[in-house]
C-alpha cells in the first residue's frame, strides 16, 4: 500500500511571536522551527500502516529549503522517500493545496495523511482542499483509523463526542492527537535518513485567493491583578465575578 504524508515546518510551540516590520508575517529571528506536532502523528500512522500492509511511505512538504530539516526527521522516523516542493513559503492555503494535489496525483497513493491542522496559520483547510481537488473522500480530526479492503473505518472528534465514519479508498485523513503516540527516531533511523535522498522540484504554481492585509498582536490583557491570598480571598472573588464581571 502506498501512503503519502503531507507535512509542514512550523515555529515551535514555545515561540513568543513577534510581528515583522512590514506587519504581514512573523519576525523569524531567533525562532526555532519544528515538524508540526499533528503531522508527526500522521507520519506515525503511515508507518504503522506500512508495518501492517507493507508498501511505502512518501513524505511531502511544500516550502523553502528549510523544510528539508522536517523531511529529514520524517525519514529518520522511518519514511521511505521525501519530496520537497520548492517555493518561497508565502502561499495561502489554496496555493499549498494546489501544489500538493498536483504532486499527489502523480504519486497516486491509496492513503493520504495530514495533521489536523498546521500549528502556524491554524487554517485546517489544506487536507480537505486536497481531497476535493483530487475528488477523494476525507475524514478530519481522526482519532482512530482502521483500514480494510478498499475502505477505512474511522473515528473523528466533534464537539462533545465522536463520529464513526466509513470512507472509501483512496482517501485523505487528518490526524488528531490521540490517534497514536509518535515514535522517536532511532539512532539507526537518524543515520539512515542522512543518506536517503530528498527529491526537490518546483511546486506547481497557483494563484492566491486570500491576501494578508496586516498581522497584529492581540489586544494586550491589562496586566494581571491579584485580589488576595488563600481561601480568605474567595468572598472577594465571588463579589467581583458577580458585581464587576457580572458573570454569575
Amino acid at each position: 500500500m502506498k501512503v503519502a504524508v503531507c507535512i509542514n515546518h512550523v515555529p515551535d510551540t514555545e515561540t513568543k511571536v513577534k510581528v515583522s516590520t512590514d506587519n504581514t508575517t512573523i519576525d523569524r529571528a531567533g525562532v526555532n522551527f519544528m515538524l508540526s506536532p499533528y503531522d508527526e502523528i500522521a507520519i506515525e500512522e503511515a508507518l504503522r500502516i506500512r508495518e501492517k500492509f507493507k508498501g511505502e511511505v512518501v513524505v511531502i512538504s511544500l516550502g523553502p529549503d528549510a523544510h528539508k530539516e522536517t523531511l529529514r526527521k520524517a525519514l529518520a522516523m522511518g519514511a521511505d522517500k521525501a519530496v520537497l516542493l520548492k517555493d518561497d513559503g508565502t502561499r495561502d492555503s489554496y496555493g499549498v493545496a494546489a501544489g500538493l494535489a498536483a504532486e499527489l496525483k502523480a504519486i497516486a497513493p491509496e492513503v493520504i495523511l495530514f495533521g489536523k491542522q498546521s500549528i502556524d496559520y491554524d487554517n485546517a483547510q489544506v487536507g480537505t482542499l486536497v481531497a476535493e481537488l483530487l475528488g477523494m473522500p476525507s475524514v478530519a480530526v481522526v482519532v482512530k483509523l482502521e483500514l480494510q479492503e478498499g475502505k477505512a473505518l474511522c473515528e473523528r472528534e466533534i464537539e462533545g463526542g465522536h463520529e464513526v465514519v466509513e470512507a472509501t479508498l483512496p482517501a485523505v485523513f487528518m490526524a488528531q492527537k490521540g490517534l497514536n503516540e509518535p515514535r522517536y527516531p532511532s539512532l539507526k533511523g537518524i543515520m539512515a535518513a542522512k543518506t536517503k535522498p530528498i527529491e526537490e522540484k518546483p511546486a506547481a504554481s497557483a494563484e492566491a485567493r486570500v491576501r494578508t492585509v496586516r498581522m497584529k498582536k492581540p489586544p494586550a490583557k491589562s496586566s494581571g491583578r491579584i485580589i488576595g491570598n488563600d481561601k480568605a480571598a474567595v468572598p472577594e472573588l465571588l463579589r467581583l465575578l458577580h458585581e464587576e464581571a457580572k458573570v454569575l
Binding site: 481537488l133 492527537k177 492585509v213 498581522m215 492581540p218 494581571g224 467581583l240 464581571a245
Partner: protein
Amino acid sequence: MKILVVAEHRDSRFKKAALEAATAARTLADTLGAELVGLVAGSGVAPFAGDLGAGGVRTVVAVDQPDLARHSNTALAKVIAAVAAQEKADIILLPATQTGKDLAPRVAAKLNAGLAADCVALTVENGEVIATRPVYAGKALVDVAVTTPVKIFTLRPNVFTASSSGETAQVEQRTVPMEPSDFGAVVTATRVASGRPDVAEADVIVSGGRGMKGPEHFALIEQLAEVLGAAVGASRAVVDAGWRPHTEQVGQTGKTVSPTLYIACGISGAVQHLAGMSSSRYIVAINKDKDAPIFQVADYGIVGDVFEILPELTRQLKQTLGK
C-alpha cells in the same frame, strides 16, 4: 450582492454557533447593503428551518431530502455549492465547528472561492470584507481579504453574539439531486457524551494543571465545574501525563477557547497554554506561585493552595447560586 449563511443543526435544532453565524451575517448584510439568505440541509429539517429567523435571516432555503439522513461531508458540500450557485451568492458564511470546518474547504474548491477560516471578526474597509483570524493559536492575529469573486468565511463559535429576535423566517424547500458517488465518506454513528459541555463550546471552563498534583484531585475541578455548568479543561502537561483525555486540552496543540469565564487552577501558564485561552473574557487564576505567568493575564488572581481554595470556592458558590 448576496450573502448565504449555512446553518448547522443537531437533534432538530439549530446549534448556537449557527445562530451566531446568522446574526453575524445579518450585521454584515446590513453594512454592505446585501441580501441575506439562509441554508439548512439534511433530512427532516424543513419543520424547524424557519427558526433561523431568530438570527435575523428572513428567507431560508431548506434542502430536506431523505438521502441526506446519511451525513456525508462530500454530499453536504455539493448541496451548499449548488444552492450558492443558484442564489448567486457572493459571500458564504459557516460556523467554524468541526462540521463547518469539514465542509467549507470543499465548497471553496467547488466554487473556486477563497476561504478565510475560523474568523473572530468581520469588518468592512473601503467596501471590502476584512476578516480577522487568530494565528499561532492566538499569539497573533491576521486581517485578511478574500480576493476571489465568491468569498467564504467560517466563524469561530462563542465569539459572535447570537441574537434571538423570536422571528420566524420564510422557508423555501428545494432539492439537490445526489449520486451514490457523492457519499464517499459517511457517518455511521454519532456518540455524544451527555452532561458536561465541550471545552470548545462552553461559556465557562474550569481548567486544571500540574498543580493539581495527580489525576485523583481533578474531582475538585469537576465539582466546581458541576456547580457552574462548566466544561473541564486541562493543560498540556497533565494531558501528556495521562491524567486527563486530550479532548480537554487547552492550548496550542489542544483547543483554543474564548469562554466568558476561564478558571485556571494550578496552571502556571506556559506560552502555548496562554495562547489558547488569553482571549477568554474573564480569567481567574489560582496558583501558589505568585510569580506564575498565568497571573499576568488573570483578571482575578488568588495566590494560595488550590486544595484549600477550590473546595471553599465550590462551597460558597453553591450557597450563592442556591444549589
